[in-house]
């Protein structure tokens, strides 16, 4: 036992880099929504990049440390405080046994990543410590942390207080957010008009936005090419014979509100998808608050791969700057 949960915030879960390999059984990859922020937080405290930390959305937890530790908070701008003293973001700072880590209000972004030297040492489930609450799997007893929980820590590696990720390397979405999308999957179910309006319109993040998916509102309703629905597909023109859903895929039930599936995605279902947010931009979605304006940007596969390479390079530069 090394951290006592005095308050859990809104929803705070143990996450690492996820649980690949079980999507064919409906168990999603999970893990930090903003992978880059999670990795950076771990690097700052000297952990393996895949160590488990805490992901807190909109509101920070209040944690009492029973052991000395090095801590780093990345992702959203939500100042951390040690016994009330404000600490810099994206920077390693020490917390002594008996001290309390708490948080100020959220200023921008949506999710913070709290890495503690040694990592949150809950048991692995199917190879990961990530929390999958729907399946009561992984994390702390398969659920978000709660008041009174005692979180175990692993053996602390040697990290250096004051280590920081330079401002220029901290990635965050713009306002409006721009999410790059590769059209595909059931894209051709849409009329030419809908294909154009989806990318032309201004959208906003809806209140229904969580680890499973982000819903958007505000754009024009999408229209479908007329067809006789195939057997088994269901009667609505937005229905298909239930298929797998890629991570990042964008479904639009009834043609009205696009939903981007994220790390805790349902693995399949009966709604058509018009395309997929590219891998390089998945992290950004995790930092969007409800009501944030957003635009979808149409890209080609070549552009998607270039963006992916840029994100990989950014990660390498962060790694290098901290070594």
């Amino acid at each position: 036992m090394a951290i006592k949960v005095l308050h859990h915030g809104l929803s705070t879960t143990v996450q690492d880099l996820g649980r690949p390999g079980y999507f064919h059984l409906g168990i999603p990859i999970g893990g930090a929504m903003d992978r880059l922020a999670m990795r950076a937080a771990n690097m700052l405290v000297g952990n393996d990049e895949g160590a488990a930390g805490l992901e807190a959305v909109f509101m920070g937890p209040k944690l009492e440390f029973v052991r000395d530790a090095l801590v780093a908070v990345t992702g959203a701008d939500m100042p951390a405080k040690v016994d009330g003293a404000v600490q810099p973001g994206w920077t390693a700072f020490p917390v002594k046994a008996g001290q309390t880590l708490s948080f100020d209000f959220l200023k921008s972004g949506a999710r913070i990543y709290i890495a503690v030297s040694g990592g949150i040492n809950v048991p692995e489930a199917l190879g990961s410590r990530s929390t999958y609450p729907i399946g009561a799997l992984g994390g702390f007893k398969g659920r978000a942390i709660a008041i009174g929980d005692e979180l175990p820590l692993g053996a602390a590696p040697s990290g250096v207080a004051g280590t920081t990720v330079p401002q220029a390397l901290r990635r965050a979405p713009g306002n409006p957010a721009e999410l790059r999308v590769l059209p595909g999957l059931y894209w051709d179910r849409l009329t030419d008009e809908a294909k154009e309006s989806f990318f032309a319109d201004a959208w906003k993040v809806a209140p229904e936005a969580d680890r499973m998916g982000y819903r958007f509102r505000g754009g024009r309703k999408l229209s479908f090419v007329d067809r006789t629905q195939p057997f088994g597909a269901g009667s609505d023109p937005s229905n298909i014979v239930d298929s797998c859903y890629p991570y990042g895929s964008i479904q639009v039930p009834g043609g009205t509100e696009p939903i981007i599936l994220h790390r805790d995605a349902v693995s399949g279902g009966g709604y058509f998808m018009l395309g997929t947010v590219i891998s390089a931009d998945m992290d950004l979605i995790g930092q969007l608050q409800p009501h944030t304006p957003a635009h979808f940007i149409k890209v080609t596969m070549e552009e998607a791969l270039l963006a992916r390479a840029e994100r990989t390079k950014l990660l390498a530069v962060i790694r290098q700057s901290l070594s």
Binding site: L185, G232, V241, G248, V277
Partner: protein, 291 residues
């Protein structure tokens, strides 16, 4: 049946074997998914078979999208020539139809239903032209089902009944999804049956409940100790109607760790099935009953 290939972003290749549901499409997707697995293409991280399609997750840092597309397309020909024979298992799943728990839930969400005046069973029986709910239950439990996909949430099986297309049960989903569904509800939406592996939201019509857990993250259920998910795509399921007494007994047996679902290894031949559906299903049921 020509497959359609499309990318889901830079990490997924999506292959639609057919845009409509059929056992042929299901067999082709299963066979191609197996072919991809057997060929051990570098960079492939997950293969997810679905009803009439499948999806491959790959690492584009290891294999370029164009290259994986070429490799998977090459597998399609072989999959089409493969004998549609499946070594699998048949499992008997007890179902308490018209049980009090799904009944309470469906009454709670009545205003979201097409037919607020009746139950989901009444509605499904009527729109599928069955004279009574009993006749509907007889059809639902009378012929076996293929598990054509496992997913949505952890361990949830989608099932397609092994009958002629004109005998397929078809129902729309709720007008608006429910926010609650009892765990282990036996449901139906479109042409697919399902068993809700966990409690939660859902839009399928609710017909009954099984006492038999199918997902157990604690792995304490006796038959889920080796792995927490019970179903695999390609499993064959036969429902067995049970009453309240049978349900309570089964729940007690599960709790005591002595419940053992009847399971038999079987070989399924799609061509033989298509020549004689009733005969094939009768022989499957016979194997389940130890004949």
């Amino acid at each position: 049946m020509q497959s359609r290939y499309t990318f889901g972003g830079d990490e997924h290749l999506f292959v639609e074997c057919s845009d409509e549901m059929s056992l042929d499409a299901f067999f082709k997707s299963l066979s191609m998914a197996k072919g991809v697995r057997d060929s051990a293409i570098r960079g492939v991280t997950e293969i997810c078979p679905a009803n009439a399609s499948f999806q491959i997750k790959f690492d584009p840092d290891i294999i370029r999208p164009d290259d994986i597309l070429k490799e998977v397309k090459a597998i399609e020909g072989a999959a089409e020539k493969a004998e549609p024979i499946l070594k699998t298992r048949i499992v008997e799943i007890p179902v308490f139809y018209n049980d009090p728990w799904t009944h309470e839930t469906l009454m709670r969400f009545r205003e979201r239903h097409q037919d607020p005046g009746g139950t989901d069973l009444d509605y499904a029986a009527r729109i599928n032209d069955f004279p009574s709910v009993n006749d509907f239950v007889t059809a639902h439990s009378g012929s076996p089902w293929f598990v054509s996909m496992v997913g949505f949430v952890a361990g949830l099986p989608f099932m397609y009944q092994m009958v002629e297309r004109q005998r397929q049960i078809e129902v729309p989903k709720y007008l608006r999804p429910r926010t609650d569904t009892p765990r282990l509800t036996v449901g139906h939406g479109g042409c697919f049956g399902c068993i809700y592996s966990v409690r939660g939201a859902g839009g399928y019509q609710m017909f009954g409940i099984t006492p038999m857990p199918i997902f157990d993250p604690t792995q304490t259920t006796s038959y889920l100790r080796d792995f927490m998910v019970f179903f695999r795509p390609g499993d064959i399921v036969k429902f067995k109607p049970i009453d309240r007494e049978g349900y309570d007994q089964a729940v007690e047996d599960v709790d005591k760790g002595v419940f053992t679902p009847p399971i038999r290894e079987v070989t399924f031949d799609l061509r033989a099935f298509q020549k004689d559906i009733a005969g094939t299903n009768a022989s499957l049921e016979g194997m389940l009953n130890g004949h």
